[in-house]
């Protein structure tokens, strides 16, 4: 390499550095500090078409209740720990005592996004997509299907990661940092659930009404038509709205507070003994197998006659279903004659539709791989089969609420646990014909 080319190399290195540096620093921050954004799919959907003035007001109320990504805020009634939120929020730095701040942005944001919408910069390239926290729905937890997860559940997910997905393990973080992150995930969920609740409230209860004069007589315009007035959404100036907002928040927080009372605790006398003989285990596996391929537990319908996950594959998870509906509504609206309403939102609908990630079917798990996303302990598998996997097609077989009755007994669920855990070691060619139950069921 002669001097000249060396110089050239250096020159172009500087050029490169100069070109890229401002882009990195300015490119994204030109729009100011990171902000929480609304779920635009919901805002412009046909379900809850929300006019721009209302979008602004909803953003303002959420800002009042939850602050910003740099300065989180939580009312005492949310029970959220303000100090932990501070540790998790903001940009990443360490203070003089060595405490790390900005944990969420350091460890999570590139997948889960600033708003917790599962739309960080890398999200589009992952399968499955990172969790969108906003509906408050979690898959791998100890509680009944419809209930929120416990702090411990979220803690477990962070420590173990979700094996077989991009979700990494954070077992190397000190547990105080994990706790701050758990608090922050809950905070983003409560904010997201509140956004939905407010959007529904605004759609259901507000909008335009006929204006009245001081005497309560309808105001008429020049043509004798009633004058319409937009009812603003501003809880600072309307005590009734303030009460509604407080009630909606209380209901959401109550769901999180109640989680610890909604844990599925297996009945002691149904739990298989620690020490079982090979014969006992084999007998339980056989029972589980019969159930798995039978018409009572139905596992075969989705996980397929070979448990490779090749049964019913057409369905979607709840996060995708909302997008699927939106996209098909948008496609539909391009067909028909544009109405006044559809035009109001048409441009933004196309823009929002363009940012939706490609839809993917919810594929039942290949159970011969022996990779369990929600954990491989027997109890983990028991919880999955008993409560189902919320937000996905996988249904519950145990009770839907404390004190309820399951579809199958707990003893039977434990049999299936035994069978599921034995599946990776079972020969796929083990003939199924021996089981009468599946002779009809498999013919798909």
């Amino acid at each position: 390499m002669n001097q000249n080319t060396m110089k050239q190399k250096l020159n172009s290195f500087y050029l490169l550095a100069c070109l890229v540096a401002p882009l990195v620093t300015v490119g994204c921050s030109s729009s100011g500090p990171p902000e929480f954004r609304l779920d635009m799919v919901k805002m412009v959907s046909e379900e809850t078409p929300t006019a721009q003035e209302y979008q602004q007001e909803i953003a303002d109320v959420l800002g009042a209740l939850f602050g910003t990504p740099d300065e989180p805020f939580a009312l005492p009634e949310t029970g959220l720990n303000a100090i932990q939120l501070q540790m998790a929020a903001g940009s990443a730095w360490s203070d003089e005592k060595g405490y790390n701040h900005g944990l969420y942005r350091k460890h999570c944001v590139h997948c889960h996004g600033i708003t917790g919408d599962g739309r960080g910069p890398t999200a589009r390239f992952l399968n499955p997509y990172p969790r969108d926290y906003r509906p408050g729905v979690y898959k791998f937890k100890s509680t009944y299907n419809a209930d929120r997860p416990t702090d411990e559940d979220l803690h477990r997910v962070l420590v173990n990661g979700v094996p077989g997905t991009a979700m990494p393990s954070f077992s190397l973080l000190p547990s105080s940092e994990v706790e701050s992150l758990v608090e922050y995930v809950k905070y983003l969920s409560i904010r997201g659930q509140m956004e939905t609740a407010l959007t529904n409230f605004v759609f259901d209860e507000l909008g335009e009404e006929e204006a009245e004069d001081e005497d309560g007589e309808p105001l008429l315009d020049g043509d004798g038509e009633p004058v319409l007035r937009r009812i603003p959404f501003n809880p600072a100036e309307d005590a009734e709205q303030q009460e509604v907002v407080a009630d909606l928040l209380a209901e959401i927080v109550e769901g999180w507070d109640a989680a610890s009372e909604k844990i599925i605790l297996p009945e002691e006398d149904q739990i298989p003994a620690e020490e079982r003989s090979d014969e006992e285990i084999a007998a339980s596996v056989d029972k589980g197998r019969e159930l798995f391929y039978g018409t009572r537990a139905n596992c075969i319908k989705c996980h397929g006659p070979t448990a490779l996950g090749d049964g019913q594959q057409d369905d979607f998870d709840n996060w995708s279903k909302a997008h699927k509906k939106f996209l098909s509504d948008v496609a539909e609206s391009h067909k028909g004659e544009p109405t006044e309403d559809s035009q109001e939102f048409a441009a933004s609908r196309d823009e929002v539709a363009a940012m939706i990630y490609p839809l993917r079917n919810a594929i039942p798990r290949n159970l011969r791989q022996g990779i369990y996303r929600g954990g491989r302990r027997r109890l983990d598998i028991f919880w999955r089969i008993s409560a189902g996997i919320p937000g996905t097609p996988m249904p519950a077989t145990g009770s839907a609420a404390p004190g309820g009755k399951g579809t199958i007994s707990e003893a039977e669920i434990w049999n299936i646990v035994d069978y599921v855990l034995s599946l990776p070691y079972e020969s796929p060619s083990r003939p199924l014909k021996a089981l009468p139950a599946n002779t009809e069921g498999i013919v798909n």
């Binding site: 050239q8 190399k9 172009s12 050029l15 490169l16 070109l19 890229v20 882009l23 490119g27 729009s31 902000e35 954004r37 635009m40 046909e46 721009q52 979008q55 602004q56 953003a59 303002d60 959420l62 800002g63 009042a64 209740l65 009312l75 739309r119 910069p121 299907n145 419809a146 259901d204 909008g207 501003n234 809880p235 600072a236 100036e237 005590a239 009734e240 303030q242 407080a246 018409t295 009572r296 537990a297 139905n298 319908k301 989705c302 019913q312 369905d315 709840n318 539909e332 823009e351 363009a354 940012m355 189902g388 097609p393 996988m394 519950a396 077989t397 839907a400 579809t407 009809e440 013919v443």
Partner: protein, 314 residues
């Protein structure tokens, strides 16, 4: 491909290319345009609203006065609304479902069942499965109090036998499977639920929260199966019969009642049925599928509602 001299000419700039590529990558990946959509909170409004919720100030504007609420306190007596929804066009032909699972059980000898997205009586053109209910009331008659009676929600030949099922909250629904194959019932909304229903067995479901609009119940195993549930705080609801008729009895008289009308294929938000006809305009039927009435004691208000074809999707 390239002639040598061209390659040479490009070479000195190759870092520039790299830089541009890198820059482009940063721009496209780092700053996703999509994230920028929608408003952000305004600091001044936030401060005002927060002070109210943090208990430092109270909402200024008082709750609305002189509205219907204060007027109803004195009203007594009950009234009835009834009527019929009639389709203003040729009854549409329903397409068969795409049955691609369990053909033996789910088809009638290979013939799949027909969809029920818009059922119109071929004779009198009545529209079935319109849900019509009162949004809010100040008092509830004995006959419309929440019920404790169990209601049946059966499925046979991979079709939910009730297409739109209303119930009062706290009322238990028997999710029944009358098929020899397994189903699961996956219900969305405020009372979300997803449970396996074994062949020829039943599972109970008790919604505890009201819905503003009917919510979907589907089967993930047989994705064509779809039906709607409507849990309400009181019994002021009706689902139109195959002849399009409905009746809601014993609604409070002497107060403004807002009536919500819904149909699975309604073009309004969440399936709201919007009557954009002269008659609808006269009733001030809203884009959300609502209209208001105020009935006298013992009045029986009868509606004959002719719905144009463009009020429905598809």
């Amino acid at each position: 491909m390239f002639d040598k001299s061209v390659t040479k000419k490009i070479q000195p700039y190759s870092h520039l290319f790299q830089a541009t590529l890198l820059a482009a990558l940063v721009v496209t990946i780092g700053c996703q345009r999509g994230e920028e959509l929608g408003p952000v909170a305004s600091a001044t409004s936030v401060a005002k609203i927060r002070s109210v919720f943090a208990g430092e100030a109270s909402a200024t504007g008082a709750a609305e006065e002189g509205s219907s609420e204060s007027a109803v306190a004195t009203a007594t007596g009950w009234a009835t609304i009834k009527g019929r929804f009639v389709y203003d066009g040729e009854p549409p032909a329903m397409q068969p479902y795409n049955v691609n699972k369990d053909q033996a059980t789910c088809t009638d000898g290979g013939k799949p069942p027909l969809q029920e997205t818009l059922l119109v009586d071929s004779g009198n053109k009545g529209i079935a499965n319109v849900a019509i209910y009162i949004r809010k009331v100040s008092r509830v008659h004995e006959s419309a109090q929440p019920s404790t009676e169990k209601v049946l929600f059966d499925q046979k030949a991979c079709v939910f036998l009730t297409h739109v099922l209303p119930m009062t909250i706290g009322q238990t629904v028997e999710l029944k499977n009358s098929d020899p194959v397994g189903h699961n019932t996956n219900i969305s909304g405020n009372n979300s639920f997803n449970q396996t229903i074994p062949a020829n067995e039943s599972v109970d479901y008790t919604p505890q929260k009201e819905e503003a609009m009917p919510v979907l119940a589907v089967c993930s195993i047989h994705p064509w199966m779809a039906s709607y549930l409507l849990p309400r705080a009181n019994g002021y609801y009706a689902i139109t019969a195959p002849d399009g008729s409905f009746e809601i009895a014993n609604v409070p008289a002497g107060e403004i009642l807002e009536v919500q009308v819904w149909h699975e294929s309604g073009t309004g938000p969440k399936g709201a049925l919007v009557l954009n006809t002269e008659a609808g305009k006269e009733m001030k039927w809203s884009k959300k599928g609502r209209f208001k009435i105020n009935l006298a004691e013992d009045e029986v208000k009868e509606f004959e509602l002719t719905v144009p074809t463009n009020a429905f999707r598809g």
